[in-house]
Symmetry: D3
Subunit: 332 residues, 6 copies
C-alpha cells in the first residue's frame, strides 16, 4: 500500500496562528443541489504560544446539545490572552447531522463515532473522521468530547473515561474526569471499541475524556452549567487556563457487564417505572411496554437483571422491539 | 340545511352495556394501501348502572404520553364493580397521530384539538371530532382531557380549566382541578377557543378539565404518577369512584396576557437560561439563540416581558424563527 | 347561487365529429415542476351518426387494469363504420392515479369515485369529476365503468348493477349485466352511494353497469378476455354494434347485509383459509392473522358471519387492523 | 353571515410609524415540529408623512428572484427622508415557498396568486392572502408585484398591466408600466382572473403593475438592474420619490388569443428551436420533444399557430405532456 | 488476513437445547430513531436429540409469503416429541424487508440473496448473511428456503434444486425436490450464482432445496397448502419426522438458455397474452405493452423465442423498459 | 488478484456490425419494484468499415442537456454511408440520472464522472463506469464527452482538454478543441483527476475532448447549435466525416490556480454582480448573499481574488454556505 491520499478538507483559517480565529473546515461535496458544493464545519482556534493543546468537540452525534451550547459559547468568549497553549474548538463535528438535528449524517447515514479512522476518499462522514485522525488529533494533548443521550435516550449527567490497557494513560484520564466535576463519573470498559473517536485518540496516547450529560434531544440550563464548569475545570487541570478548579463532589459508577442493559422485546407505549438516578433492585420491573392497538391487554414487563442506579432510559413515548429500555450502573 | 349525515364511525362494542368492555371505534378509510380499510380507535367502557359519566381522553395530540399511559392502564385495571356510573376511556383520540408519534394526523395533517365540531363527510380528523361532538360528549357529565407539551414544548406539570362566561360551570371545573391535585394548577383565559374540544364540551355545559403534565415527547415515572392520582381523585370527586380524595398542595397560576409568551426571531441553537419552575424577572434573558453556521457570533437574547415563573419552554435543541421560546405565568 | 363556473378542462378533439378521433382532455394544473402545466387525460371518440351513445370508462381507480387494457385496445381497433351511434372511451379516468399505479390521485389524494359531482374550481380530482358530471355523462345513454380489486383486494370476476328505487332503470341495467356475460353477476344495494360516479349517472337516468373483474394490481389473460367480451356484448345489447351477443352462463350473487364483510382487528401476516369462489359456512375460519414479531404465538382467527361464496379477499401478504379481510356473498 | 374573524397575523412593527422599520408578519402555525410555531414573513415600512402609499411585493411565487433581490436591497437602503408618503415592502410574500425555493407553499401546496381573497381560518397560504386583502391592499395607492418565470419557464423581461373594464384605472396602470421602462411592456387580457392578487387589488381601484423579468429559478445582473430601475422609476412616477424618471425605450406586446400558447403532447427531452425574443412565423417548428428511451426515433414537432415574438419557453431540459412549451406574443 | 471479527448478532435462546424454543436473533443497529436499537429476527428451534438438522427459511426476500405463512405455523405447532434431530425455523430471514413488505431491506437496500457470505462489520443485510454463513448453515444437513415471485413476478408453483458440479449432492437435492411434491419441479442451472444463499449452502456440501410457489406479493390457500405439505414431506424424507411421505405427481421443467427470458423494451400498460402454465409456441406474442399517454397507438409485441410452458410473468399492471415480461420453461 | 468478473451489461445490438443500429446496454438491476428488472441505456452505433472510432457521450451528469440534444439528433440522422469508421453514440451515459434530471444517480447517488474505473459487481453507477472502462473506451480513438453546468451552475460556452504529462497527446486534444470551434476554449489542469472518465480515457492514450456549454438545467437554441457544429467539426477533424471544418474564432482561457474559485460562506439569496463573460477586477464584488429571514441586514460580499473573465456562476436563486459562487478565468 502506497502513501495515503491527502484529505480533501481545507481549513479557511491558519490553525497555527496566535490569537482567536473563527473559520471553517471546507469539505468539497458535489451533489444534485450543488455541483460544486461543500460542507462547512465551523472551527475556532484560540492560541497563545507553545503550551499544551486541548481539542474540544461536540456534535459527534448531531442531536446532543450540551457540548455545542458550551462550545459555541466558549469559542465566542475565550480570550487568547487567558490561554497558555492552544484550544481547538469544533462545536459540531458531524455538522451535516447537527444541522439536521439527527444522530447520524443525513448525507450518508454515517455514525461519526463508528467511522474512525475514516478515509480521505470515502463518504462525507469518513472524510471528517480522516481529517480528525490525521490532522487534528495529532495536534492534541487532551481531547474532551461531549455526548448526551440524543433524541432517543436520556442519561444522568456524568463525565467518563475508559479503563485502558495503558494504566498510566487511564489514570491521567480519570484525573481529568475528576476535575470535570460532573454530578456522576463513570469508568467505562468498552466491549466493542472499533471505529470510535475515543479509540483513535487513545491509540495515539492522548488523554481522552467524554460525557453523557442528559438527552432527549434538548439541554437544560442545569446540564449546560455542568458542561461549562467541566470545560473550565479541565482546561485549568491541563494548565491551559489559570486559576482554581471548581471542585464538586461526584459519585463514581461503573457498568460491569451486559446485564446492565435491558432491551424491549415488543413494540408499544413505553413506561419507565423508575426515574433517572433512582435505586433499582434485581428483578424489579423497571419499565413496561403497553400494546397500543387495543385496551385491556397486559403490558410486557421489563425486569432489572441486577441491583443499581437507573443511569439511562429510552426517551420517546413509543418503543420498538430491540430498543434499549433501561441501563443500570453500580457504584464504582 | 337538512339533517346532518350520520357518522361513518361505528363502535365494535355496545357503549351502554354494564361491565367492562374493550373494542374500537371503526372509521372506514379507503386509501392506496387498503381500498376497504379503516382506522381502529381503541375504546373501553366501564359501566355499572345509571350514575354520572366521565369521558377520559388522551392522545388528542399524538405525541403527548402521560394521558395514554394512565388511561391504557386504567382501562385494563378498572373493575366495573368499583364504578358507580360510567367511565368512557379513549386513550388515543387521534389514533393515527398517536401511532405515528406526531402532534397532528399523518393522514390529513389535522390538529384534532382545532377540528371541532368536525364533519361526518370531512377528513379523517374531522370525522373523529364529529363523533366526539355528536356521540360521546353528549353522554358525558365530566370530561378529563390529558395534554403535555409534546415533542416540541415542555411544561411544569399542571391541571387546568377555563375562565368561562358561565361562572357556575367555571367554578365546578376549578373544583375538579383542585381535586386533581397536580403540583401546579392553572386558570386559563383562552383567547382563540375556536375549534377546540374544550370549547365543544363547555358549550354543552360539561365540566371540562385538562392538563399539561410535562413534554418533550416522553413521560417520566413522576408525571405518570400525577396523572394516575389525578384520574382517581377526579373520579372520586365526581362520585364515580368511592373513597377519600388524595389531596395535595397545588400552586395556582395564571397567564394574564400575551406578554407571557416569548418568541424566537432567529433560527439557531436554543439555550434556555432558566429551567422549568424557575423565577424570572422582567427584562431578564430567559433564552438565547446561537447562530450555528460559524463560531464567534453573538447569540440573540430573548428577554422576559414580565415577572413570573418559567412555565413552559421550547424543547428541541434547535429552534426556528417564530417558535415559542418561553412561557411565563404568574401566581394566580 | 349564481351560474356555475365553466370547467377548466378542454378536449383537444371535437367530441361531435364523425369518425375515430384520439386526443386528450387537457386540465390546466400549475405546480412546482410546471408553472403552466396540465394533466392530459387520453380520450377517444368513435362516432357514426346519431345512434345511442355509450360512455366506456376505466381507471376510475388507478390500480385496476382489466378496464384500461380492454379500452386502450378497443380505442385502437374500433372501426367507425361498424358503429351505429357514438362510443366515448376514457381508458384512464383518474389519469394521475393510473400513471402512478395508485387507487387515488397522487396530486390530491382524491378517490375519484367519491368525488362526484365534483367542482370546476376544486382539486384536480374534483375537476375531473365535474367534467364527467356536466360534459360527458349528459351525452351518454349507457355507461360501462370497469373496476377490479386494485392492489389491495381480489375479486371473483363479476359484472354488476345497483338495485335502484327506479325499478325500470334497474331492470334495464340488469339486462345489460346479463348481456355482459361475466362468470358471476351481482345485484348491489349501495348503503352509502354519496359521491359515486354510479350515483351521478343513475340520477341522470342513465343505464349504469360496472364490474369487479379480479384484482391485486394486475390482470390475467382470462380476466381481460371477460372484459373484451363484455364490452362487445354490451355494445351489441345497446344496438351500437351489430351482431349476435356471445351469451355465457353467469351465476347471480347478492350481498344482503353488513355481515358479508369480515374485518381484521390485528396487524400481521394474512392467510386466507379459503380461495376465491370457495364455499363458506357460518362460523368457519375464513382467514387468520399471524403476529410477525415472534414465533409461537397463536394467530387471530376471522370467522364467517354467514354461509356463502368467498367473493373477495384482502390481497397483500401483510394486513393492518381495520382492513377488510374477506367478503362473502350469497346466491342471488 | 356575521362579521369575519380577524386575521391571525400580527405585525411585529407599527405599520403607521414614521421612519424605516424592519420586522415580521407573524402567522401562528402549529405543526408537528413546533406545537406553538409561527411563519415569520419579513416586512419593511419606510414612511415619511401622509403622501401616497406604494405596496411593493416579491416572492408571490417562491422561485422567482428579481423581485426579492431588488426589494431586500431597497428595504435596506431606502432612506425615510427621501420618501414622501409610505413604501411597504414585502420581498417574499409567500415566505414558506420562497424559503423552500418552490412556486407553491410546501406547507399546503398553495399558489398564493390563486388564493385571493383568502380566509382568516383557512390554510397558511389563505391566511396570507387574507391579510393582504384586508390589511395591506387597503393601505396602498399603487401595487407593484414582481414575477418571473420561476424554475420551469423563462421570459423576455417585461413589465405589464391588465386591460380592465375601468379604462381610467387601466390607463393609469399602463402609464406606470411605461415609467417602469423594462425592455418590453405587455398589455394583458386575463382570461381567468379569479383568485389573483392582481384582481384583488384592481377591484379595490388600486393601480396594479406586475412584471415577468426572466426565469429559470435564477436572476442575472441585467434583470436585477431592470427591476431596480423599474422600482425607482415607478416610485418617482407616483411622487413618492423625487427626481427624474430614467426613461428607456420599451417595445409593447400583446397576447391576443389562446393561439399564443403551444403545449407539449409528449414526455421527453425538450429542445427550443428559437431563443427568447426571436421572431417566429406561423407553422414554424418552435420546439421539439425527443423521446429518451431509445435512439433513432423522430421527435415530436411543435409548430407556431401565429406570427410573433418568442416571449416565453419551457425551461427545464425534460418536458412532460401538458406543459407549456412556447409562448408567442405580437407587437402591441 | 487475521481472524474474522465475531458476529454482532446474539440469539436470545440457546440453539442447542432440547425442546421447542422461541426467541430472536438480536442484531444491534444504532440509528436516528434508536441510538441503541436492534433488529430482532424471530427464530424457533425444535430439537429432540442428535439426529439431522434442517434449516427452514422464508422471507429471504421480504415480499414472498408462502414460506413465512407455513413456517410461522410450523414453529407454533411442531411438537419436539415428534422430531428426531433439530428443526431450525427462521420464517423471515431479512426481517426488516419482511416487515416493510419489500424485496430488499429498507435499511440498506440489501438483497439478502446476493449478500452472501456477508460481513460481520458490513451493512445490516451483510451482518444477517454472515450469521447464516458462519453460525446457522454449518449446523444444517438440509436447507429448505422458500421463495415466490414477490410483488413484481408471478410463478407456477414449483420446487427446485440446482444442477451442480457435485453430482451426488445434486442428486440428493433432486430427491428432496421429488419428496416436496409440488405441482411442478425445476432443475436450475444458475448462470450467476455469486452471493446467493443457495451457493453458500451448496459450497458447504449441504442439500439445498428452494421453491417458487406463486407471487404478486400475496399467497393463496392453495399455495400455502403446497408449502405445508412440502415441509412435512421433506422433513420425513430427511427422517426428522416419522411417517409416510404424501407423494403427488409433479411435472419436471428446465430452463435451458437465456432464450427463456423475454424483456420489455418500452414502458407502458402490461398485458400477458398467456396465463401461467399455458403452452407457448416459438414466435407467439406472449405479452404486449400498450403506451398509456394516448389512445390509438399500437402496442409493442413481445414474442416467445422458444416453445414451452409459461412459467413466470411480470405481475404489476404497469411495466418499465428492462423488466422481465415472461419466462418460458421446457419439459425437463 | 485473479481475473476480473465479466461485466453484467449486455448490448442488445452487435457493436461491430456495419450500418446504423439502435439498441440498449442492458444492465440487470433487481429492486423492490422489479425483481428481475434492468436499466436500459440507449446506444447507437453507426459504422462503415475499418476507419477510426469516435465515442460520443452525453448525460455523464444527468442534468446537462446540450450533449443529449445534439447526440439523440445525430444518432437519428447520421447516415452510415457518410461515415468512414465508427461512431458510437451514448447520449445519456448515466441514464438513471438523466431520466431523473439529476446530476447523480437516483439509484445509488453515484457521480459517474468520479466512479471510474468502476466495478462489475459494484453499484449501478460503478457497473456503467466499468463497462465504459473495459468495453467502450478500448474501442475508441477519440472521445468527445459533453458537459454543461447542470441545474446549479452556469458557464460561458467552451470546449476543453487537459494539460497532460504526455504532451503529444495533449497537443492532439487541443487540436481537436480548436476544431470544435466553441466561442471559448479552455486549457484545464485537473488538480484531482481521480475517478474521472477523462482520466480513464487519457490513461489509455485516447484523445479526450470535453465541454461546458451553458447550464441551469436547460439548453438554448444557440448552445445546441454550438454542440452540433462541434460534433461535425470534430468528426471531420478525425477524418470520420468528409468535408470542410466550419472554423470559428475562439478565445482561449485558462484557470491558473485555486484563486479562480469564490465560495459562499453564508446561506441566503444569491445575487451575481457580473454576468457571464463579463470582465472582473481583483477585489471587485462579484456576488452578494442577502440574508432572507429579515430586511435591513447587510449582504455578505464576495470579492474576486484575481482579474479575469466571469466564466461560471452559481445558478439557483438561493445559495448555501460552501457553494461555489463564481469562477474567474484568465486569457490563456
Amino acid at each position: 500500500m502506497g502513501a495515503m491520499k491527502p484529505s480533501p478538507i481545507s481549513p479557511t483559517i491558519d490553525l497555527d496562528k496566535n490569537g482567536a480565529q473563527h473559520g471553517h473546515l471546507r469539505l468539497p461535496y458535489s451533489r444534485d443541489d450543488s455541483a460544486w458544493g461543500s460542507v462547512m464545519i465551523p472551527i475556532a482556534v484560540v492560541r497563545n504560544g507553545d503550551g499544551p493543546t486541548a481539542l474540544l468537540t461536540g456534535g459527534n452525534h448531531g442531536d446532543e446539545y450540551e457540548g455545542p451550547l458550551a462550545l459555541f459559547d466558549l469559542a465566542r468568549t475565550l480570550d487568547a490572552e487567558d490561554v497558555g497553549g492552544t484550544v481547538i474548538i469544533v462545536p459540531a463535528m458531524n455538522y451535516p447531522a447537527f444541522r439536521a438535528a439527527t444522530r447520524t449524517s443525513p448525507i450518508d447515514g454515517g455514525n461519526l463515532n463508528r467511522a474512525f479512522p475514516g478515509k480521505p476518499d470515502g463518504t462525507v462522514t469518513e472524510k471528517i473522521a480522516d481529517y480528525f485522525q490525521r490532522e487534528l488529533l495529532p495536534r492534541a494533548d487532551l481531547v474532551l468530547d461531549f455526548h448526551s443521550g440524543g433524541k432517543t435516550l436520556d442519561f444522568i449527567p456524568f463525565c467518563a473515561a475508559h479503563i485502558l490497557p495503558d494504566q498510566a494513560l487511564s489514570a491521567r484520564a480519570f484525573a481529568a474526569v475528576e476535575a470535570f466535576a460532573a454530578p456522576w463519573s463513570m469508568k467505562m470498559l468498552e466491549i466493542d471499541a472499533v471505529g470510535m473517536y475515543d479509540t483513535a485518540a487513545e491509540e495515539m496516547g492522548k488523554v481522552f475524556v467524554t460525557t453523557e450529560l442528559g438527552g432527549g434531544g434538548t439541554a437544560t440550563a442545569a446540564t449546560v452549567r455542568i458542561a461549562r464548569r467541566g470545560i473550565t475545570n479541565v482546561l485549568k487541570h491541563a494548565s491551559i487556563l489559570a486559576g482554581e478548579i471548581d471542585r464538586r463532589p461526584t459519585r463514581w459508577l461503573d457498568m460491569p457487564s451486559g446485564d446492565c442493559f435491558c432491551f424491549a422485546e415488543e413494540d408499544g407505549l413505553f413506561e419507565t417505572m423508575v426515574d433517572l438516578g433512582g435505586t433499582v433492585r434485581h428483578d424489579q420491573v423497571v419499565a413496561r411496554i403497553h400494546p397500543i392497538g387495543r385496551t385491556g391487554v397486559a403490558p410486557q414487563e421489563i425486569r432489572a437483571k441486577m441491583d443499581g442506579i437507573l443511569t439511562a432510559r429510552h426517551f420517546p413515548g413509543l418503543v420498538k422491539a430491540g430498543d434499549c429500555a433501561s441501563v443500570i450502573a453500580v457504584a464504582g
